[in-house]
């Protein structure tokens, strides 16, 4: 079934690439979105079922897939706006759409892949397509960023592969030749801890490039700087979820053994360092998209901490990564609008936005509140749960340290955002020349509102899914 989806997707993207016609592109992308929707629905109906050997519709995969669907809809919408407002050749647009479709497809296969190797291959593939998209604007900076992203991700993927090999070493000793997760589960108890540790260490380090976690978080930041806003929205949400999933899968295997405590400590170290890095780097920030990128680093660090702490931390981590996806995407769409006014992402150029575009300003304010995990944002609930978990597990000092860092992040983040919103009116900008339709902002409001709603009053099915997703951990 899912194979069919892949085939359709590949066909669509190839035909877009070769036909290079706006209308056809639109139609085909709509078709693709419908198929994406239908495959996700299909997955929802066939919970926990193995599909075509290497794929499985498990709870976490479906949750993230739904996030992917929602964000794909909005991203296609905003990509359309983005491409309208910049003058690109039809060829470029075709490349843009075809690679975007391929990116979504590969990400979906990464979500649903039940075999470590397949997941690894799909993640490898995402690197290729996303770097094409990063390079979309064909500027020097975009070239540099794309190169960095491509190279460092490849190194990361190579490292991850080493981890996979280590895993297979102990697996093969138990007579498991394929790397299907459910097989690995069965033998996980009897795996040799030393190899598991090596495997986890390398996979964590490797996929940290994707997840945007310390140590390989650096290139994701550069990618955000130059990528088109809709793509940045993707890189820092669904693609990071892909990396998270990669780490999460191996973590679930380890969770069956007593290596778990070691693994959790490693995750805590990585998480703390990530939050610390973003806290200190945000003090020097000069560019709005980089600022958002570093905040993604912070949130990924918190997610890692959530996994590392355990207990309700698991639940909170999943909750957090989902909420973060929505909020961060909304912010990137909005910063795209801001760019319409100021033609720049540099902090020094951008100020007094609230006067120019009040509705956009409101959405930025709402996004700020949400991303800083200030109530009523749902992220507050998840962060609160993580802190609670820290205290329950007697990680008091970690909790205090993290809270201090978060305060510093709030300071530098809000300082820059309020510089964007308020401050001296810029007379040189002709507002009437810019046609921002207020309705473009609706998608952001919907995303933020969704986060608030899911945080304050999550529907039963949502919580059940998350609970089911983490049952393997405890």
């Amino acid at each position: 079934m899912i194979i069919i989806f892949f085939l359709i997707a590949i066909i669509i993207s190839l035909s877009i690439y070769f036909v290079q016609n706006k209308i056809v592109t639109k139609i085909l992308s709509l078709i693709f979105l419908t198929t994406l929707l239908s495959i996700t629905g299909f997955a929802f109906l066939h919970l926990e079922e193995i599909n075509s050997v290497y794929f499985k519709f498990d709870y976490l995969g479906i949750l993230l897939a739904f996030v992917l669907v929602i964000l794909s809809l909005s991203t296609f919408y905003h990509s359309e706006l983005y491409l309208q407002r910049h003058s690109f050749t039809i060829k470029q647009e075709a490349i843009y759409y075809s690679s975007l479709i391929m990116l979504i497809t590969t990400m979906l296969s990464a979500y649903f892949s039940e075999n470590i190797a397949v997941m690894w291959v799909s993640i490898e593939a995402t690197t290729l397509f996303v770097s094409i998209l990063i390079f979309h604007e064909r500027t020097k900076d975009s070239l540099e960023a794309a190169w960095k992203y491509l190279f460092v991700s490849s190194i990361g993927v190579a490292l991850a592969f080493i981890g996979v090999l280590f895993l297979s070493i102990t697996a093969s000793s138990k007579g498991i030749t394929d790397l299907n997760l459910h097989h690995l589960f069965e033998i996980s108890k009897s795996m040799s801890p030393i190899w598991l540790k090596m495997a986890f260490l390398f996979i964590l380090t490797g996929f940290s490039a994707k997840m945007g976690l310390f140590p390989l978080h650096t290139v994701a930041v550069d990618a955000h700087t130059v990528a088109p806003p809709p793509i940045s929205a993707f890189i820092s949400t669904t693609l990071m979820n892909v990396g998270f999933l990669g780490i999460f899968r191996i973590f679930t295997i380890i969770a069956q053994t007593n290596v778990i405590h070691w693994a959790q400590n490693v995750l805590i170290i990585a998480g703390l360092l990530s939050v610390f890095m973003s806290a200190i780097q945000l003090l020097r920030i000069k560019h709005y998209k980089r600022m958002f990128a570093f905040s993604s680093l912070e949130h990924m660090g918190i997610v890692a901490l959530g996994l590392g702490i355990g207990g309700i931390g698991y639940y909170a981590a999943i909750l957090h990564i989902i909420f973060h996806s929505f909020v961060k995407a909304g912010l990137f769409y909005q910063i795209g609008q801001v760019h319409q006014f100021f033609k720049s992402y540099w902090i020094k150029d951008v100020t007094g936005y609230f006067k120019l575009n009040p509705i956009g300003g409101l959405s930025i304010i709402l996004g700020l509140i949400s991303i800083l995990a200030i109530p009523p944002s749902g992220l507050f609930i998840s962060e609160f749960l993580i802190v609670k978990a820290m205290f329950i597990q007697h990680h008091h000092y970690i909790a205090i340290f993290v809270l201090i860092l978060l305060t510093i992040i709030i300071f530098s983040f809000s300082k820059n955002i309020f510089h964007l919103l308020y401050g001296s009116d810029n007379k040189d900008i002709k507002v009437d020349s810019i046609k921002i339709n207020p309705y473009e902002t609706i998608s952001q409001f919907v995303l933020f509102g969704l986060v608030i709603y899911l945080g304050i009053n999550p529907p039963q099915v949502f919580t059940d899914f998350i609970k089911a997703a983490i049952t393997v951990l405890n």
Partner: protein, 660 residues
Amino acid sequence: MIIVLFKIAILLSFILFFLHKNIQYYVELILQTAIILITSSWAIKVLISTTKLSIAFIPFLGKTLNIEIDQLSAFFILVINFTSLTGIIYAKGYLRSYFTKKGKIEMAWHFFNFLWLHISMLLVVMLRDALAFLVIWEIMSMSSFFLVIFESEKTETVKIGIKYLIQMHIGVVFLMVAFILAYVQSGAEFSFDGLSVYFASHNPFWLFILFFIGFGIKAGFIPLHSWLPHAHPAAPSHVSGVMSGVMIKMGIYGILRVLLYIHHDLFNIGIFILVISLVSGVIGVSLAIVQHDVKKLLAYHSIENIGIIGIGIGLGTIGLAENIPILAVLGFGGGILHILNHSLFKSLLFYTAGSVYKQTHTRNIEQLGGLIKKMPKTALFFLLGALAISGLPPFNGFISEFLIYSGMFKSLHSAGLFTDVIILFSFAGLAIIGGLALFCFTKVFSIIFLGTARSSRVEQVTEVDSSMLIPNFMIGFMIILIGFVPILFMQPLSQIIALFTIDTKEIALIIPTLNKISLSSGIFILFIGIIWLLRSWQQKQQIIKHSATWGCGYTGANPALHQYTATSYADNFVQLSSKLVNVKKAFNDFDETEIFPRSREFETHSSDIFEDNLISKPSNILLKLFYKIAVFQTGKIQHYILYAFVFLTVIFLLTYFNLI
């Protein structure tokens, strides 16, 4: 069902964004009035029928969230409603000048936040579930933050706003940690009621300190106050009126609410509260004296009054601990009554100061003077507020201070040695605070309203229009009512006190005294009236001449040149307490080569030593340090790879040596 109306009113707040500029205000007014009516009806019901109210509100994280109103909540609901009402009425006139500058959405955003500040304050006192409380608490901070930065054209305002935001966040972090610790160590439900389980089995002191810091930042106890003197001046006056009038009281509410659950080892807590409050009172008012910005001055006075409230609460707590009912009753009684009183006269003062600012466009009192002739009503209301806040009879400020005093004096004999010494210091402190307040408000009133103009700003000033005077009349009425017939408020007060201590018969004992006070106040007014009549009768026969103020024979220059300024008025106090208030004088002295001296400027700046040394310096050091070490995003690929390599090796080694 009334709760439904309440929900509808809350939901309707979002309509504001879709309305036209001119009707936004009225819709806001209607919504707020509706909310006021609804909540007040609940509060009054609770206060009349001495029961508690519990209503299902909304689903929250799977559970249903209840609105719970006991006497304490009811009292605060009424206070909040009254001040918010006056605030919104005052806002109409005050905001008129901004209508042209601000866009539709901006105005809507302002009104939305004002409404939500009101709603969130109400919910803060009505919710018990800890998580919901934290959420609504932070919403309160956020909405007030956006109200503070209303005049966001000034970058200074936004800076101040961010400082405020950060400190509020630190406060909520403390609260969160406190709640979590209680939850983790007691395993009870995650709410205020769960605290009682913890306090029953543990030593309450340290957890209470956490709560106190969390709430104290909002209340503005020294040294947690440093946001307050900046935020209040920056905010528009109707906002600072509401913020200073009721929002900072939410901190007091929290402290009282937590105290409700502590039943043992109260003595240290009482001492702690009392000491902090005395410090806040004395230092707050001392710093107030040296301010030239009228709203900043009033902000420091809020700190002082929070101190007085704290003194009452602290004494009450000690009374509970030492089992001296009279001290408990009158301490809490005075403290809680002072919450109401301060909300009244502080908002009155902020509104009148705001009117002055609106007409003269300056907050620096050194440029004002003689305004009583230009805006007499405002002046008289300011005088009323000044007398009341100085705790002078026959106004309301005196009543609450009197309760605290008589509590102290009555319990002197029965209390132990240590308590006696504490009480000694408390009433000495209270007396000093009273004296300093008198000093301060004689200064600020006479510099703003009396004498002659100190700058040209004052010339074209006229009285503000009636819509900005209505709230003053309302508040003035309340002030005088409490001042003259305090017994009206004793019955509800006794119910609130009953939450803290069982035997409230002392409150009955105080009734005759209060009657006597009302009588004396009556006689006082009577005397004034009679003598006034006598004089006007006497002056009918005599000739009344008008001539310039006696100037030691010299009448040439403009009297404004040699009349007293705020600086010179405060000077002899500044000399006394130079260490504390550290006023810096900027003046370049004459050098002997200078035969014909050029014109010179003389100006003084006061700085808050607590803010400088406890807040600003440490945080700046930390930020500088972090800024220095933030060098990891070098832009060179090989460094990026290096991080991964180092990470791998470090983890590997740690694992190898079994460190993790």
